[in-house]
């Protein structure tokens, strides 16, 4: 099914480029996250899709229809704003059915629909309340109900959960995801929390300043980051400067490591980055020399209960290893150890 397509969309604010030639092809019915650090242009990209900003160049195509010039109010888009932007002069049910009133639905029908929508976001019985009489989490739900009242083609959310406390945020993540699966609506959520993006979405769009770095399912992005930026941004990762030797070997310092592959077109001597997840770094007793191993020393141990983190120093290199408590290596700060970087866990990207 055709979804949302951005064709080399750029947005400039005076001299500043907020979004630079972004190409995206997002399938319909999926849950998509825009993930990136603060100020990288996520909100701008979302607003371009909603029609609240006009692109400096490029096209926005929704379900095979070019909507670049279509004004916001004709796009049939549901949006939850960062500030929620509920109408303070209307009570809950009038807020939720504002869009239906604009379409001319009679009051009795609207009232009934408001009840259904509140049921859907699991907040029944607050129809008559004032917005001021709701808690932060309840307002969130009202904003979601309002955005979904018109059964929009696209559901856009700009960091909707950032104002909630950690526990409520996790609950809402699960709930949003379930809601989206039930309605099958194409949903785009903006976040700078990589955990949130990873746990909720079918597809993650990782952005650095004004540009899209990688698009893919969470696990793919986690397992094989396309660039050093993505590797660094998605969870904590070990990033090691490396040099290409041949298509299955790189050199780090004096030692050579076998790797599954190197980026296409990399030639001997090219500067690359070897990335490896902390949970893939194995710590072995000192002296077990073999390939893909480095001698090192434990500089710090952090036991956080659910996992144990070892901070390692191998000459110039610094590495982090994470293991489950039951696999905890017998190592204490100052111990000499052997660090193994299994070939199959190494991902080599361009620097």
């Amino acid at each position: 099914m055709p979804g949302l397509e951005l064709r080399s969309v750029s947005k400039r604010f005076g001299p500043l480029t907020a979004v630079e030639a972004v190409n995206l092809d997002l399938p319909a019915g999926k849950f998509i996250s825009f993930l990136g650090p603060s100020g990288c242009g996520k909100t701008t990209l979302l607003r371009l899709i909603a029609g609240l900003e006009t692109p400096s160049s490029g096209q926005v195509v929704l379900e095979d229809r070019d909507i670049t010039a279509l004004p916001t109010h004709q796009r049939n888009i549901g949006m939850v704003f960062q500030s929620l932007a509920l109408f303070p002069h209307l009570n809950v049910w009038n807020n939720i059915t504002y869009g239906l009133r604009i379409r001319g639905m009679p009051q009795a029908d609207r009232r009934r629909r408001a009840g259904e929508l509140l049921e859907m976001v699991r907040l029944p019985g607050v129809e008559e309340r004032d917005i001021k009489q709701l808690s932060g989490g309840q307002r969130q739900r009202v904003a979601i109900a309002r955005a979904l009242a018109l059964e929009p083609t696209l559901f856009l959310l700009d960091e909707p959960l950032s104002a909630l406390d950690a526990k409520l945020r996790e609950e809402m993540q699960v709930e949003l995801r379930m809601l989206q699966e039930r309605l099958g609506i194409t949903t785009i959520i903006v976040t700078h929390d990589q955990r949130e993006a990873m746990t909720m979405s079918d597809l993650v769009v990782v952005m650095s300043t004004a540009e899209v770095q990688q698009v893919g399912p969470p696990l793919e992005i986690y397992r094989s980051p396309a660039t050093a930026f993505v590797a660094d941004f998605i969870g904590s990762s070990n990033l090691l400067d490396a040099q290409c030797v041949d298509p299955s070997t790189v050199r780090i310092g004096e030692s050579e490591f076998s790797v599954p592959s190197v980026p296409e077109g990399a030639r001997s001597g090219d500067a690359l980055t070897l990335t490896i997840r902390p949970e893939d770094v194995h710590v072995l007793p000192s002296g077990d020399t073999a390939s893909n191993r480095l001698p090192g020393r434990v500089s710090f141990v952090r036991d956080v209960g659910a996992s144990v983190e070892l901070f390692l120093r191998c000459g110039e290199l610094e590495l982090i290893s994470i293991s489950a408590p039951k696999d905890r290596p017998e190592a204490r700060p100052g111990d000499d150890v052997m660090v193994e970087l299994p070939a199959e866990s190494c991902v080599v990207v361009r620097r």
């Binding site: 609240l52 549901g78 704003f81 500030s83 932007a85 955005a147 009242a149």
Partner: protein, 287 residues
């Protein structure tokens, strides 16, 4: 000692002394004098004199067709001029507050400049501009919009126009702060819900800023009730507003007791109308 005990001694109360003194000297005392004088006796012959006494003669004089007519035209001018300036001023102020910073500041500086003009200058300028000989009707003739120059002053329309023009900068400055505070995401939310910019303006912007609009209307109404120069310059005697009658009694006829009584009456009417407007305005919001 409880935390809520009231401060004792003179010193903690000193900060209140200043406003109390100001209010007393410049408001309460003159007001009391006016109340007392309004009951004094005025001999038939003596211009500018009055005798100590207590009588309701002056208050009973209101109930004549002349004063009734003038109080009605005063209320009409004040209400219509306040309404017109809010009607013109609100959309202007709202759209100004949506502009970028620089044009906003420039426009506000310009408005402040207009505000610094005295009522005399404004009224005089319009009396020239609306006249037949040197007025803008000549310009319209040149444009081909009018067949021959017209005289628009003195007249009802000219007074209304002058009052509205004079009120407009006040309307803008009263409403501007709240307009800038309206979050753009709120109007954007209305747009995503299918409301055109015009629908958004009437279903979101106006209701949200309704208290501000009401405030501006009431302030301008009270403000215009006391208009003096504009109706005199741009209107005929039947357009003279109440302040002119009061000054006529006090200065020309030297009847201070009656002028005082008229002022009291005028104040009572203004207060009653404001109270009524506030009530009606509140009901509209609750709905």
């Amino acid at each position: 000692m409880s935390a809520h005990s009231r401060p004792r001694g003179l010193v903690p109360h000193l900060p209140f002394a200043w406003p109390a003194l100001m209010l007393g000297c410049f408001f309460l005392v003159p007001f009391a004098i006016m109340v007392v004088v309004s009951f004094f006796h005025r001999p038939e012959s003596g211009v500018g004199t009055y005798e100590v006494g207590f009588e309701f003669t002056h208050y009973l004089r209101f109930f004549s067709p002349l004063f009734a007519r003038h109080i009605l035209i005063t209320i009409e001018f004040a209400a219509v001029a306040a309404l017109l300036s809010v009607l013109v001023g609100f959309p202007f102020t709202y759209f100004l507050s949506r502009f970028r910073r620089r044009p906003q500041v420039l426009a506000l500086v310009f408005i402040l400049c207009v505000l610094s003009l005295s009522e005399v200058i404004v009224a005089y300028s319009w009396s020239v501009l609306l006249s037949r000989s040197a007025g803008i009707s000549n310009f319209f003739v040149w444009l081909g919009l009018l067949a021959k120059p017209a005289s628009w002053t003195p007249g009802y329309g000219a007074v209304l126009f002058g009052l509205t023009y004079f009120n407009l900068p006040f309307a803008v400055l009263i409403m501007y702060p709240q307009c800038t505070r309206l979050d753009t995401e709120i109007t954007e939310a209305a747009r995503t819900l299918g409301a055109s910019p015009l629908r958004t303006f009437f279903t979101v912007v106006v209701p949200m800023l309704w208290p501000t609009i009401m405030t501006a209307a009431i302030v301008l109404f009270v403000f215009t009730m006391g208009a003096f120069v504009t109706p005199q310059w741009l209107g005929r005697p039947q357009h003279w507003m109440f302040a002119i009658l009061i000054s006529d009694q006090a200065l020309t006829r030297g009847n201070l007791p009656f002028a005082s009584a008229l002022s009291m009456f005028f104040m009572a009417i203004t207060l009653a109308l404001v109270a009524l407007t506030v009530r009606l305005g509140r009901r509209k919001i609750e709905r």
